[in-house]
């Protein structure tokens, strides 16, 4: 390990790192524009010049280009080095367009900071400035190319790191240009990171354009809850609304970056239609009053029909605190629930995954980057857990092989080998890979499976990524078995599941029964349940039969809905109780790896000033409280509903959680690093064949709604800026099946389903498993009707294809 001296400070660093990184480790900041830890060094900007006073290198050199070596003596403050950097800033500023006051980067701009710190104030060059024409890059990113200093961070990130090609560098000499070949919406669902990366204001956040300066924001380190990965983010709030989210470094989860769903999925917290007042039978009341009235009505129902006539529904988008509170309240009051899963299949899959994963098997997302082979089974990272695709790409860049067993036409930003298998066959393929038992699979695949099996066997750190949306518990169990077998054979194999919601894992930890909304509806129909309390869940959006749902709800004596979003089911409630979003209440979310992470509140809540002031000046009223600042977090509400007193503070709540739930024992000692939570051995499940009819004959098709990166997740779906990103209703079919229909790509498909016809655009691919029809979930489509609870099978005569004109 080389030992060197930087600014009189001696430091020992690992072999092969650059001087600039060594300085970072010693706590010495060397100016940089092009260097970025995750992107590496290119030596494009020359601002990191330092003086090498003694040792193997001498003189002024770029600290990002020279490896730290033994015996180096480096000075960052040497007059010669400072003078050099001052000149660099001067030439970088030569063409700068003099628009800091109207630039959104101003206030957190690296170029601004370094210009200041290099003491460059007056432009001495008297010539004219170079200008560029900007491009429209979509609704998320604003382009202002005049401000570019040619550091190449954006193009290196976009093309090398993320693997998309539609943004890059063009031109020569003084005229190089960073942008797209032609104006247009950026294709990558990871595009927002160039906003964080660009050291100047070339790319700025469009939805929050001109909203404010960073120094005015309330900023907290948060956790993204738009999928199960729990990436680290920084939340910025101002004037009682969330302004924007940025990626925040995490050495365990996401590295520095986040996906666009996470970056822009927060607008639900700002929307005007969000419930901010209690409502009892159509009349607005303070939220506290709504809770008391709900508690009273619940008590009445309980007195007349017994406690078991009351049921509670929660969901995986609630915090662990809320889930724990609901679980506790139901138990002590004798209420049914909380029901935390939408469908039986999802309940089974998620709970199987959580019971299979154990500390020694689980790998973090960051560890995936150093895997040397990745096998995915029924998982589509880019759509189900976007940043996982980035982690996989980094592994692939380092030489890892990637193979996927899936029935979809997967589209990932790196090379991989796909084994096209119908959902029913995936378990067999997995088994074939594990024990080279190839008799169960079709001959066509034997060679491919054998070659993949050989590759996996030859590597040291293979990872199995297994989805839980289109797989059943047998596959999920099989994936864990495969990993265990590899570990026994001496490989450092890792297991990685993706789950449907941010806190699905937390729900599965606390829910021992796994009851689902379907079960509840049946009990409502049979008259067993008379009152329903829905907390942060939208039955309307998740239940597959709306007619049946409406009828069931009408049978209820009481429907209480508590939520922080304006869901559909809210309109049918007798009593509405507003709750707080993660940005106002904070919350613990357990990601798919079992890592429980705390996201603190970003602001105190209340109706945004934009709404109270109707876009203009804030109202000229002096009042001691915040408008709509009286809303309580759902966990408090849970206790009050049962007419009990909640723990007085969040710390006491954590203490209580640790004492009440053995799986949450560690919660009392929660650290900012997060804690890892796993089910105890005794609560682990064993594999179970889950029902569902298999495809019998050639004349039948399995209709499968699958995740889409945009337009699917219930929170991000409400962001106005993401509206155009949702997919159009499309149905993907195997090319071989299409021949039976004499159909071609782009034709119109019309499905005759029990709840009415469905119009979709037909898309064909060789990689779709025959017998499967894939529909990406999108808001324009009532896909819920064929959600997996029923394993929706469509006979051939129900499918009509109309040739495109």
């Amino acid at each position: 390990m080389p030992k060197l001296i930087i600014d009189n400070r001696e430091i020992e660093v690992p072999e092969g790192i650059k001087v600039i990184e060594a300085a970072d480790r010693a706590g010495i900041y060397i100016p940089r524009f092009c260097y970025y830890a995750e992107l590496g060094a290119v030596g494009a900007c020359r601002i990191c010049a330092v003086k090498f006073v003694d040792g193997p290198v001498k003189g002024i050199e770029m600290s990002c280009m020279i490896n730290a070596q033994d015996g180096m003596v480096v000075s960052t403050t040497d007059p010669e080095a400072r003078d050099f950097r001052r000149h660099v800033i001067e030439w970088l500023m030569m063409n700068h367009p003099h628009d800091c006051p109207v630039c959104d980067e101003g206030g957190h701009c690296l170029l601004q900071d370094l210009t200041e710190s290099c003491d460059h104030g007056i432009r001495r060059y008297k010539g004219k400035k170079r200008t560029y024409v900007d491009q429209y890059l979509g609704p998320l990113i604003q382009h202002e190319e005049n401000r570019c200093i040619q550091c190449y961070r954006c193009s290196r990130y976009y093309q090398e790191f993320a693997g998309y090609k539609d943004l890059g560098v063009m031109g020569i000499a003084q005229r190089i240009y960073f942008g797209r070949y032609a104006a247009g919406v950026l294709e990558s669902p990871f595009s927002g990171n160039i906003i964080d990366l660009c050291p100047t204001g070339v790319y700025t956040d469009k939805p929050s354009r001109y909203t404010g300066r960073r120094w005015d924001y309330e900023r907290v380190p948060g956790i993204c809850i738009n999928c199960s990965l729990g990436c680290h983010i920084t939340v910025s709030a101002r004037y009682r609304e969330i302004v924007y989210l940025e990626g925040r470094y995490s050495g365990k989860v996401n590295g520095s970056f986040i996906c666009d769903r996470g970056r822009y999925g927060f607008f639900y917290a700002n929307l005007e239609e969000r419930p901010r007042q209690g409502r009892v039978r159509g009349e607005d009341v303070p939220s506290g009053r709504a809770i008391t009235m709900a508690a009273q009505r619940v008590k009445e129902v309980s007195e007349s029909h017994g406690a078991a006539a009351i049921a509670v529904i929660g969901s995986g988008r609630s915090s662990l605190e809320t889930i724990a509170a609901l679980t506790h309240v139901c138990k002590v009051q004798g209420w049914r629930g909380p029901v935390l899963f939408d469908s039986r299949v999802s309940s089974e899959s998620v709970r199987t995954a959580v019971s299979c994963i154990a500390q020694e098997l689980a790998v973090s997302m960051k560890e995936i980057e150093s895997a040397d082979f990745i096998l995915t089974v029924g998982a589509d990272p880019i759509n189900e857990a976007p940043m996982l695709a980035m982690a996989m790409r980094q592994a692939w860049r380092k030489g890892a092989g990637v193979a996927a067993i899936d029935c979809r036409s997967l589209d990932w930003p790196f090379q991989f080998e796909q084994v096209t298998a119908a959902p029913d066959d995936m378990a067999d393929f997995l088994a074939a890979l594990e024990n080279s038992e190839t008799t169960v699979i079709s001959d066509r695949f034997v060679a491919q499976i054998k070659s993949i099996a050989a590759k996996i066997r030859a590597c040291h750190r293979p990872v199995v990524v297994c989805g839980t949306e289109i797989t059943d518990s047998k596959i999920i169990y099989g994936a864990a078995g495969f990993v265990k077998a590899m570990r026994q054979a001496g490989q450092e194999a890792g297991l990685f599941y993706t789950l449907p919601a941010a806190n699905s894992y937390g729900a599965a930890l606390l829910d021992e029964i796994g009851e689902t909304a379907e079960d509840l509806i049946e009990r409502i129909e049979s008259g067993e349940i008379k009152a329903l309390v829905i907390v942060e869940s939208d039955l309307w959006d998740t239940f597959s039969d709306r007619q049946r749902l409406i009828q069931a709800l009408e049978q209820l004596e009481l429907l209480v809905v508590a939520d922080f979003m304006a869901t559909e089911i809210l309109h049918r409630a007798d009593i509405i109780i507003p709750t707080l979003s993660i940005f106002e209440a904070g919350g613990i979310y357990v990601n798919q790896e079992g890592r429980a992470q705390w996201s603190p509140p970003a602001y105190a809540g209340g109706t945004p000033i934009k709404i109270t002031g109707q876009g203009g000046h804030p109202p000229r009223i002096i009042r001691p409280d915040i408008p709509a600042g009286d809303i309580s977090p759902a966990w408090r509400m849970a206790w009050w509903l049962a007419d009990r007193q909640p723990p007085a503070s969040h710390d006491l709540l954590l203490d209580w959680m640790g004492k009440t739930f053995p799986v949450l024992e560690k919660a009392a000692n929660f650290t900012s690093e997060g804690i890892r939570l796993y089910l105890p051995e005794a609560r682990r499940k064993t594999a179970r064949e889950t029902g569902g009819r298999k495809i019998q004959s050639l004349g039948e098709y399995l209709l499968l709604p699958v995740a889409a990166v945009f337009g699917d997740e219930p929170m991000a779906q409400r962001s106005p800026c993401l509206e155009g990103y949702a997919k159009h209703p499309e149905m993907w079919m195997a090319a071989s099946d299409a021949r039976l229909f004499d159909a071609s790509d782009g034709d119109a498909a019309r499905l005759q389903l029990p709840y009415g016809p469905l119009e979709l655009t037909l898309r064909l691919s060789e990689r779709i498993a025959p017998g499967t029809l894939i529909v990406y979930r999108c808001p324009d489509l009532f896909w819920q009707q064929f959600a997996r609870s029923s394993r929706f099978i469509v006979p051939k005569d129900r499918i009509r294809i109309e040739k495109k004109a």
Binding site: P97, H98, D99, C100, P101, V102, G106, G107, G127, K128, K129, R130, T131, Y132, V133, D134, E144, N146, R147, M170, G171, I172, A173, Q174, R175, Y177, R209, Y210, T211, G212, R213, W215, D216, Y239, K610, G613, G615, G616, H617, P618, R620, I622
Partner: protein, 190 residues
């Protein structure tokens, strides 16, 4: 005569003269002012012209071409030591950044002038007008319309949007002061 007696006599004389002089000056001043006109300026009947740079009531001035000058950059609100400026920036259809609302709480302003010093567009300026006491505290809170004036104030010439590189209705890329025409990325000519 004894020399000591002479010295004592002279000392007493000096004291007497001093006393007489003081008495004379006192009466003289009184007498003099007895016949002079009053010195007080009758405010508010008479208002003394204050230097243009004296610091009181704040205005938001206009560009030489009459358009709104403030670009809602938040620098004045950031520098204000008593936090009495607040605003919300927005983008106008013309491409200009402007203040959707802008509020100064004069109940708090200490007329330090730091906002004016920080302003990159010469929009916010302090004026000599200081007579703004109000009976109602809320009336001390000035909104944008109360602050805006239709002249340039002390800076008659500066027009930020003539220099800044961003595209507005008044100037496109390459049309601002000291700008080249936009580069053609697709040419190989030097």
């Amino acid at each position: 005569m004894q020399p000591i007696i002479v010295i004592g006599f002279l000392n007493n004389m000096k004291v007497l003269i001093e006393i007489a002089y003081a008495l004379y000056m006192g009466f003289y001043t009184t007498l003099k002012n007895l016949f002079r006109g009053p010195f007080t300026e009758e405010y508010p009947e008479y208002k003394r012209p204050l230097p243009a740079r004296s610091r009181a009531q704040i205005i938001l001035t206009s560009d030489p071409d009459g358009q709104e000058r403030c670009v809602a950059c938040y620098l004045c609100s950031a520098v204000c030591p008593v936090d009495c400026i607040s605003m919300q920036a927005a983008e106008a259809d013309s491409g200009r950044r402007y203040a959707k609302w802008f509020r100064i709480n004069f109940g708090r302003c200490i007329f330090c002038g730091l906002c004016e010093e920080a302003c990159p567009t010469s929009a916010i300026q302090l004026t000599p007008f200081f007579e703004n006491s109000k009976r109602d505290i809320l009336k001390m809170v000035y909104e944008k319309a109360d602050l805006q004036v239709d002249h340039c104030g002390k800076d008659k010439n500066y027009n930020f949007y003539a220099y800044a590189g961003i595209v507005t209705k008044s100037a496109g890329k390459g049309e601002h002061v000291k700008e080249e025409k936009p580069v053609d990325v697709r040419t190989n000519m030097p």
